[in-house]
Symmetry: C2
Subunit: 633 residues, 2 copies
């Protein structure tokens, strides 16, 4: 197991991620998505990167062909993100052929680097004099961060696939760039003070520190966190530059920028243990919960792709950019690693299964950039976007996915998410050879459709460690049975089983049933409405499969729901079928109370599908939040 | 009565406006606003126009001083709008001193005109080569329209005040500009095809046709209507250029642009009687009703200051630009003149008393650009804006205001709005000398606070004509008593009294009571909420005067409300006092139905004030739509 990822040595993390290739998915939910990623999505994105000039920009910057820069200033980052995801995927599948796809792209990147380590084709091509001149808007440090992450992933995948030399090539580019950044930015003489307008490099530098052990990269990430709030990029709340991060009480501004910044700060904390930083992250997380959609989406305003005020969560006008949902998973996953608190996994799981997964079509070929929670039918999945950040972010998330299932810490294995799979998790701090043991864990489950999980543990020799099983907050009390024990575990916790394990089985039964959710009264659009949830999934009602406009559907608060398994676009889903009323009322926008003609109610059966699956059939209106029929007598 | 306004001869109008100076307001509602306009607002705006470079731009363009253009590309229009409003105001007050304030500004405008008639200081100063190059974005025709309207108003005011020569000066500038526009744009050889990105000139050209009788101006206005929808400015629905106006079924795009276009088209119809145009206006009006706030505001999106989908009417994120409310009055007033249908006066009155009037502070010194229907307290009135279109539009509306009270047509006088006032209205088509008679109408009322109106009619000699009294749609059945007659009139109509009038009295009793309004179920944010209305006024609840956050207030659907007269910022208002509950509930954004802790309810008394008066006391949260307590048991 040569491939490792993220915080494997971080001193201030309570839990550590496992490598993507330590888990083999066997399920019908994620495995087909990862197969599509490998066979359809990643190859088609490479074609798009070629067609839209992304790769030509590198060739032009390297002098390999003529022409000027094409596309948006941050287009290089799309290439890096594709490299990162493809590297992770090839490591996951152990697929050398897939890995070799990256080689020519890595060469292009290599050839476009300037002698001083700087690399950004937009500036190298036409605007050398403008390098680092506008950190707020020009995304140079953002692109640099994605290059560094791509290089690390490529390096790790190369090691995993027995080709360390090839991996060193792109890592060399990243190190030269990182050294250039370290030299350029800071408060020492000869340096420029500055912070990125779009955070990203903070995560990358911490990871580069983890990869190389060189403390200057960690210090540089810390610098970028600490220099924020001094007005270096204009001092606006939009850019989270109005006050120092440690003093912030409110998460503001551009949703993706904000969540990337918090993710980077979380990475810094894992290495430094700065209590003031963690306190700020916890405060901002609390605030974030008042600004997060029921789907885990973040970003309430189209204006500036930004976060709104607390409880400002419009449905049809939600922005909820796919990138922000991906970032919400990233941030919450890090907060879980820091604290071991299952509430962060709940939040990560919610964003993963709903807001983020909605960002890619069921067949892996089309994308949502904006993810509304109600729609007139005008929002459609696209093959690509001029700003392609979302397609190239969802592939990163999917390629990380296997590593989200487990975490480890001294003497502990954390089962954070459930999926039919086989994994080998190394638990350290145990009485065994080298102080660690490889534990084979076989999950048998139909999660997320069913809450029963059978977990088989296999070890070379009996070993004492603590198995921590997550009971999601959405679950009822979970019944857990292990050799010689049985308990009812409360939801919203990790349930611990400390014992000496041998080849044993554990069964977990999390009651999954249809739940109706209500929103805080301050969420103006959700007053007197309910949303359907089942397990970690949020449901929606589409005209597709229903033949009516779901915005006119009113549902009773209590009723026996049925579940039906069906395929949409080749993927198996469980839909929820219930009864309700279709409202038809006069078209007057306003009426006097008591004088309004009552709505005509027609009894209907309705089908709800998981939110992530919407927009995969014929276009039409969609709604997550449904009117409650008792308010429309 | 030398001063006349608008459609006095329009062949396809059922009703015609009366001159502003034919009405003398005597009331406590409008008269103080017009006094403030004269003594505070107009002088202070002139100072602002000087301080912000608006007038310097004219001096610079005329070569009277150095320097380059200052401010936004359409800044000239603010000067023209000030001229128009000041001219109308001086005509209303018969104030020659006020009129003389305009002279130097008129001279500046005159001196900045190019030899070929073109005038726009932005282009004349630095960018002569870019004249008429980007009609979509550069607002040249918009500015031209405002200059023409200003010149007409100045000309009419000058005539009224016995100084026709002075008025001819600016009208000359307008005619040279209009001739230049007529020469430049069209489909004849040597002309350029084009339409304005921001409509406005259509209204101006029709008015110039009315003023001069020259048909080329009307034809040019028709051209600008007819050439739309051919993609001349990009073909977007945002610019209402996607299809011809006569084919449109939906009102889309920038709210002010849209409503100005419809107003201009309405003006064209009044002169041409083109049935397809009127049919389109009626369809678009119907659609507009689904996109209009309960305050009469229009514009649901901050993005592009634009109209949203039908029933998309968010409260806190309403844009509802003051200019759009002004334009809503303009459009509806024109539709009333065309059709004689009181529903258009209802809509105009709603926008006038609520969305538009909110745009200026009670003391006439501060402005709202955006008019939300709920607020956290962050929206504050400003002294001025970089884009000053709203302050300079509300002064136009207020200066027009007296003319909105009455309209005439052959043998008819229409009383469209009520206010304590004295007017002399000339009714034509009657058996009298010259076929017309001056009718003195004295309104005694405390409208809009009270629905009782006593109307005295005085004539030099008995004359037969029809008096049409508007019974607003919001009123209950109105009791109307006239000499020898008595009737109960249904709301939403003009009630006709045909008789031979002498010195007679008519009394109208429109029941004004507190009404609770509900919204169509598709208006997502208003579900299970009510808005308080009384007469033509929509109310809101502010923290000011209440000491709680009105967004937490829930009110019963039935209760005895009290009314209290009080002063805010020197202006008398009638507030509505009622009882309700303050909700306090757990901060969780989402909860499971049935598992949520019920809200703690504290009984409170609340004070609601007219929406137009909000934001004039200490800043704090505000809400128009209040939760209904029955849904929070």
């Amino acid at each position: 197991m040569a491939y490792s990822w993220m915080n494997s040595k971080s001193p201030f993390a309570k839990a550590r991620t496992v490598p993507v290739d330590s888990v083999t998915l066997k399920d019908d939910f994620w495995r087909p998505r990862l197969e599509d990623l490998r066979s359809v999505t990643l190859p088609s994105q490479l074609t798009k990167l070629e067609e839209t000039g992304h790769l030509h920009n590198f060739r032009r910057a390297a002098g390999l062909e003529g022409g000027s820069f094409e596309g948006l200033v941050f287009n290089d980052s799309d290439v890096y993100k594709w490299v990162e995801a493809t590297a992770l995927s090839s490591a996951y599948w152990g697929d050398k052929e897939m890995f070799r796809l990256i080689g020519p792209v890595a060469s292009l990147i290599e050839s476009a680097q300037d002698e001083d380590g700087y690399i950004n084709t937009y500036f190298t091509l036409d605007k050398k004099q403008d390098r680092w001149r506008n950190l707020r808007d020009n995304h140079e440090l953002y692109c640099a961060g994605h290059l560094i992450q791509a290089a690390i992933a490529y390096h790790r995948a190369a090691n995993r696939l027995g080709n360390p030399e090839e991996g060193g090539r792109l890592l060399g580019v990243a190190l030269r760039l990182a050294d250039h950044v370290v030299k350029t930015f800071g408060h020492n003489p000869g340096q420029t003070e500055g912070v990125p307008g779009h955070p990203e490099i903070e995560m990358a530098l911490v990871e580069l520190y983890r990869e190389t052990g060189k403390p200057e990269y960690l210090r540089q990430a810390e610098y970028f966190i600490d220099a924020r709030g001094k007005g270096l990029i204009g001092g606006s709340p939009y850019h989270l530059d109005h006050i120092p991060l440690r003093e912030m009480n409110e998460i503001t501004g551009h949703a993706v920028r904000a969540l990337y910044l918090l993710s980077g700060a979380a990475d810094v904390f894992m290495e430094t243990g700065d209590a003031a930083l963690l306190a700020a992250l916890e405060r901002l997380w609390e605030d974030l919960q008042r600004k997060t959609y029921v789907t885990g989406g973040v970003g309430s305003r189209h204006e500036g792709e930004s976060i709104g005020e607390e409880y400002e969560l419009p449905n049809a006008r939600a922005y909820a950019e796919t990138c922000a949902a991906v970032a919400n998973v990233m941030f919450n996953h890090r907060m879980f690693l820091i604290t071991g608190d299952s509430k962060y996994v709940d939040a990560a799981e919610l964003a993963l299964y709903n807001a983020a997964l909605a960002g890619i079509s069921l067949d892996g070929t089309h994308y949502f950039y904006v993810n509304p929670l109600a729609d007139s039918g005008k929002t459609r999945r696209q093959e690509w976007f001029e700003c392609a950040c979302c397609p190239t972010n969802i592939i990163r998330l999917l390629s990380y996915l296997p590593s989200l299932l487990y975490a480890t810490s001294d003497g502990k294995i954390w089962v954070s998410m459930y999926a039919k799979s086989e994994a080998t998790v190394t638990v350290s701090g145990v009485e065994a050879e080298m102080g660690k043991a490889d534990v084979r864990i076989i999950q048998d489950t139909d999660y997320p459709w069913d809450g029963r999980v059978k977990l088989r543990v296999k070890l070379a020799s009996p070993t004492a460690f603590e198995l921590r099983l997550r009971v999601p907050a959405w679950a009822g009390k979970a019944e857990i049975i292990w050799p010689g024990g049985k308990a009812v575990a409360l939801p919203g916790n990790f349930f611990s089983i400390r014992r000496t394990w041998r080849d044993d089985a554990v069964s977990i039964r999390m009651p999954i049933r249809v739940r109706l959710l209500t929103a805080h009264r301050r969420v103006a659009e959700d007053t007197c409405r309910v949303a359907i949830a089942r397990g970690p999934l949020i449901y929606c009602v589409e005209t597709a499969g229903n033949h009516f406009d779901p915005r006119d559907l009113a549902v009773p608060g209590r009723q026996p729901f049925h579940q039906i398994k069906q395929r949409i676009s080749g993927k198996m889903i469980t839909s929820v079928v219930g009864g309700g009323f279709l409202l038809e009322s006069p078209a007057n926008t306003y009426a006097e109370l008591g004088k309004a003609t009552k709505a005509v109610k027609t009894r209907v059966k309705f089908e709800a599908v998981p939110y992530y699956a919407w927009g995969n059939r014929e276009p039409g209106p969609m709604a997550v939040w449904l009117l409650r029929s008792k308010y429309f007598p």
